[in-house]
Amino acid sequence: MVFSRLFRRRAEPEPKIEAGLKKTRRGIFKDIANLFERSEITEDLFEDLEALLIQADLGVETTLELLDNLRDRIDRERIKQPADAREALRTEMIALLENATRNRKIKIYQRGVPFVILVVGVNGTGKTTTIAKLAKYHQDQGRNVMLVAGDTFRAAAIDQLKVWGERLKVPVIAHDPGADPGAVVFDGMQAAYNRNADILLVDTAGRLHTKYNLMEELKKIRKVMQRHVAEAPQEVLLVIDATTGQNGLVQAKKFAEAVEITDIAIAKLDGTARGGIAFAIARELGTPISYVGTGEQVTALAEFNPVTYVDALFFGEEEEL
């Protein structure tokens, strides 16, 4: 698990998300390969592609735009062979996803200032698991990590984070269930200073983006953080479930409005989900997508990379199962 592009001063090999995505491709590579196994590029090909992309959760608009771009490229480059059209589609898909990496900010760690990561999302997307993975990653980089149990609402959410804390041997700052999340975060910030934490990972309760009050609560948490560190939270991470349909776009938009999302993580990519929502987000919002979660193991987290993402999900080789 390496985030070579995300974090400065690291020269490490390219991450491999294919490994984590093994289970994902069942069927789809073959479908794509079959599509292009025809003698010429016909209108049928585009129709089949449309079906395939929509079924991968790219959404109608994004699919149509992608196909328009593909047609343009085919015309422009005078592509005649279906195999070349396949390569052109791959190029277009990668180009589209690059919208989601272009605006990434380099993360800078300052000595003596906790780097605060606020993790948000709707219910059940995998926030807590993602936090555990990030904690593990930063810990492996030799950083001093601390967790804050900001989900004081859901039954046993605090316990869940504490279990991770014990497994990873990372301190967890927590209050009792039902406490004010702002107060827990306040204590977390202070503890981070007192105990010289490099990374402070803040869990929050899952909230639907349609709940105004809960979105306001996030703003408050942010303010509490800024009382201690002006630039905190240096990272605001939105976790989106890879199986999410078109609602994922609305989620990204609404959370971005409320708390200035700096990064998105696409979680649960180990299922059969095609993760097409990443394309829709890249096209419409351009919010940086930084991580993909690929399983329940604590190391199953990779840096989001358009090329590997597209290849791992759409253009890989069928594996013997």
């Binding site: 109608v60 219910n123 039954a155 046993a156 316990d159 105004y212 009050n213 199986t243």
Partner: protein, 504 residues
């Protein structure tokens, strides 16, 4: 973000012109929009394809009824077909003749299994049954604690053997215990699993074999995309599901996944999860979900909630006052509190056709905190002032502002809007009296049939007149600005008016 289907269809038919019979061309154009609406609601691609061709077949050549525009006619057909797929009637949980009934809850990670086990246990308990919840998720950290915490909240026992035990043994032992101790329903919470995770799927199969559940319910997130079908199919193939629970329906996801699952797997949808509170679970009504998938609002649920929260006497007393033009701040305060009991305001407004849409488009933010300000102002009034707002002279208003932590301008606004509302209510009273009946408010709240037949435009008119609980009907009070709440929905709503009434 999404235009409503009815708006789009109306535009399509405006372009082709209004004719007496739906031609093939009309229908094809319309079906393109229907297809898109369904895909945007995350209905599975293949399901959409079959659905659209079925609707097309039925619609071509159909005569446009006099009362309808072609757009309305198409919507009526689409809605009708949707309801057919979703299942015409609601299917309750099947209880075994010889207890205990064994219910197993399965699904992907994060779909809401544990929460819904507790919600259903709570429902069953209220029906007078003796549920036992079983913590068979030994993998996710603190899953057992979660079920135990919820069990404590609803006072339902939880059977657990910790995380070291084997889920199959846990389930077996729990059923045995239930038989010994006379629990009538056993609800087994299983771990979240991917449908392609072979060892985990085998495990869940073995649990089912061991305890032979009467019901195996799949919990599906309303926000799920195209994969919903594959997930459900695989679980169904392995376990022979008996029902679905659709969760997170309190958000703005259209819930197309439910339609896909229903049409491919064929099992009925038994419950709808509508929030994080333990009582936020509702029975499933196909017609409501159909409207929602099409972006048409959900008035019936709203009415039902109002019925559940506002007692007969309360509404009768209120009606008398309204009719007599004596509605005062005390009544208003009561009304506010009743609305608050019905759920968050945003959620309520979402259910009114067109309004949810308008709110999203205009990005109006409605906060229940507004209620707090209004409440604070009313709390700062003397009983006399509450009963007789006319005596609110500037010095009194100043005191109220100081007492409630608001400004005099806010108090003025409240008083003025309240007076306007009073005026409208008086008009409404005259109207109701003039119609010769005393049906008015109470009749409205009570009669679901009447409402099902009531056009949206009528509803809007009623809202503007203040027939709905104040504060909702007059959005300026605790709601968005009136312009936003009343103007924009009109467009789509008046056109839909008759299609609703025609439906049955």
């Amino acid at each position: 973000m999404f235009e409503t289907l009815s708006d789009r269809l109306t535009a399509v038919f405006q372009r082709i012109g209004n004719k007496g019979r739906l031609t093939e061309q009309d229908v094809d154009e319309a079906m393109r929009e229907v297809r898109r609406a369904l895909l945007e609601a995350d209905v599975n691609y293949k399901v959409v394809r079959d659905f659209v061709s079925a609707v097309r077949e039925r619609a071509v050549g159909e005569e446009v009824l006099k009362a309808l525009t072609p757009a309305q006619q198409v919507i009526a057909i689409v809605r009708d077909e949707l309801i057919k797929i979703l299942g015409e009637e609601r299917v309750p949980l099947q209880l075994a003749q010889v207890p205990p009934t064994i219910v197993m809850v399965v699904g992907l990670q994060g779909s809401g299994k544990t929460t819904h086990v507790a919600k259903i246990a709570n429902l069953l308990k209220k029906e007078g049954r003796r549920p036992l919840m079983v913590a068979a998720d030994v993998y996710r950290p603190a899953a057992i604690d979660q079920l135990q915490t919820l069990g404590g909240q609803i006072d339902v026992p939880v059977y657990s053997e910790g995380t070291k035990a084997n889920p199959i043994d846990i389930a077996k032992n729990a059923v045995k215990l239930a038989k010994d101790r006379g629990y009538t329903v056993v609800l087994i919470d299983t771990a979240g699993r991917l449908q392609i995770d072979e060892p985990m799927m085998q495990e869940v199969e073995r649990i089912a074999e061991a305890v032979k559940p009467h019901e195996i319910l799949l919990v599906a997130d309303a926000m799920t995309g195209q994969e919903a079908v594959n997930v459900a199919q695989e679980f169904h193939r392995r376990l022979a599901l008996t029902g679905l629970i659709l969760t997170k329906m309190d958000g703005d996801a259209r819930g197309g996944a439910a339609l896909s699952i229903r049409s491919v797997v064929g099992v009925p949808i038994k419950y709808i999860g509508t929030g994080e509170r333990i009582d936020a679970v509702e029975p499933f009504y196909p017609d409501r979900l159909a409207s929602r998938i099409l972006g048409m609002g959900d008035v019936l649920t709203l009415i039902e909630r109002a019925q559940a929260e506002i007692t007969e006497e309360e509404s009768r007393a209120l009606e008398e006052k309204v009719l007599a033009g004596q509605f005062n701040f005390e009544d208003f305060l009561n009304q506010l509190q009743q609305i608050k009991r019905m759920g968050p305001l945003t959620q309520l407004l979402e259910m009114i056709p067109g309004i949810g849409q308008a709110l999203r488009q205009q990005q109006v933010q409605i906060s229940d905190d507004e209620f707090k300000h209004i409440e604070a102002m009313i709390f700062s009034m003397t009983p006399e002032e509450r009963r007789n707002p006319d005596i609110l002279k500037p010095s009194r208003r100043k005191r109220i502002a100081a007492g409630s932590g608001t400004s005099v301008a806010q108090v003025n606004q409240l008083v003025n809007q309240f007076k306007q509302m009073q005026k409208m209510m008086a008009q409404f009273g005259e109207l109701a009296g003039g119609a010769g009946g005393r049906r008015g408010l109470r009749g409205l709240m009570r009669s679901r049939q009447a409402l099902a037949g009531l056009g949206d435009a009528d509803l809007e008119a009623l809202m503007q007149q203040g027939a709905f609980p104040p504060g909702m009907g007059n959005p300026a009070l605790g709601g968005p600005t009136p312009r936003k709440a009343t103007n924009s929905p009109k467009k789509g709503k008046s056109k839909k008016k008759k299609s609703k009434g025609r439906r049955r």
